[in-house]
Amino acid sequence: MTKTWDATSEHLLRELAPQVLGAVARRFRDFSSAEDAVQEAMLAAFSQWPQEGVPENPRGWLIQVACRRMTDQVRSEIARRERETAVAAETENVASLLEIEADMDPDDTLILLFMCCHPALTPSSAIALTLRAVGGLTTAEIANAFLVPEATMAQRISRAKQTIKASGTPFRLPSPPERTGHLPAVLHVLYLIFSEGYVSSIGSHLQRFDLAREAIRLTRNTKTLLPNNAEVAGLLALMLLTDARRAARTGTEEELIPLDKQDRSLWDRAEIFEGIELLTAALAKGSVGLYQLQAAIAAVHDEAAKVEDTDWPQILALYELLKRVAPSSMVTLNHAIAAAMVHGPTKGLELLQALDSDPRVADHYRLDAVRAHLLEKLGDRQAAIKHYRIAAARTTSIPERNYLVTQAARLAGD
């Protein structure tokens, strides 16, 4: 008995991927090869299921295909080593599907997530591996999302697995203190996947895989696995409250529309509602972290029906908290904007001066863009034009550059 392939089948397949990988990796005690085998099983499912229908036990089907690949690999490895005597023993070792399924652990996905966001990995390798092993994406889809050749992405993933193998990390759930220590790295990887989706969701990149939505799905799953962690909920809230503005963020010519000029009727109410609900529950837990604070700031913006209704004193207070919890030059920059909205542009410009001597941000386009904006508010048109142009020259984003060049042109032409 099979079921017809429909819109939900792809989602099902991706949800099953980490469960199957967990089962196979545990059985064969080899994460790296198991991950390849599951990828092959996923590709087989993607090519066969749409035609032949979804098997009655899709998870069992995937486990069987992946285990067959693993066994083939073990056999050829043994043949290569010419250890004939061992063949019988090793192949008999292959367990029945029932045994493997009985061994499955609901924490497998969490184990994989911690493994793929291993601190020894560079961000780009951790992202690629997480998307494949935990997200169930194919190498081609990941390559497409990052606009690199598939072979390059395959190498990146394979190297990431070598790094994990070399680190000797066992396939088990990290101890509670280890989990606390490594969770920020996991959340950071999920956050980076979301940001990448945000960067790539404009213009000529519309055909790319929707990473923002994928990041939301993965974070939602992580929240199910760690229901009591306020920062996981905070991150999910932040993603939803930001993604809610997606439709309003660009104009008909795909030009960038800043928050204060967006058509707020285009914001996704359902996402805002869910984000605020999640955030409220998270904040009630008492330990306020980086993502909850950012989500809270996003929520204050989202709650304002008109830009004039924005509760800037509250945003300013939240940035002050954020400066204490997770200080960074970008937080200082955003804090200056909020201060300018509450106390006027002079106050904002005064706060920006602190960043001129900070080498991490002194040459960053955002500093000039914010300064230009505040100078414009102050009425210093020439200085504003100058800083809009400096910012335009420094940004590495095309829509941002177009926006900044247009701002300078608007002031120069008035």
Binding site: T152, R156, R159
Partner: protein, 130 residues
């Protein structure tokens, strides 16, 4: 983040290196090994070598919109010989790769230390969060 690495070579004669055979072979082998390494590290987006400047044409649209081509440019001392597009985690890594290919072996196996122009490839807008 993606970068383009543009390899500029000094023009001499027709632009063709007039080196002993073993030095040419060493140079080609070095470049191939460099590309292979970039591929294996999962950093290579594209790598292309360009035809010699003898073949170059400068094209402009004429009044009727048709192409008007211009010939070779003896005044230019340097020319673009090839480029890489790489996807790396930091600007430092891009500079490291640029320095490596810059030192490709030339005549007598001595490093050429060619100038490599490194430019970041533009992307979409970053999130307006942190």
């Amino acid at each position: 983040m993606k970068y383009i690495l543009m390899m500029n070579t000094m023009k001499s004669g027709h632009g063709v290196p007039e080196w002993p055979r073993k030095d040419l072979q060493a140079h080609v082998a070095f470049m191939m090994a460099a590309n292979k390494e970039l591929h294996e590290r999962g950093e290579l987006v594209a790598a292309e070598g360009l035809s010699f400047p003898d073949q170059a044409k400068l094209v402009r649209a004429g009044k009727d919109g048709r192409p008007m081509t211009d010939g070779i440019f003896p005044e230019s001392k340097e020319f673009l010989a090839g480029f890489w597009i790489i996807d790396v985690d930091s600007p430092q890594r891009a500079y490291e790769i640029a320095a490596k290919v810059s030192a490709a072996p030339g005549p007598g196996g001595a490093p050429l230390n060619m100038p490599i122009e490194v430019r970041q490839v533009m992307s979409g807008p970053p999130p307006d969060m942190l």
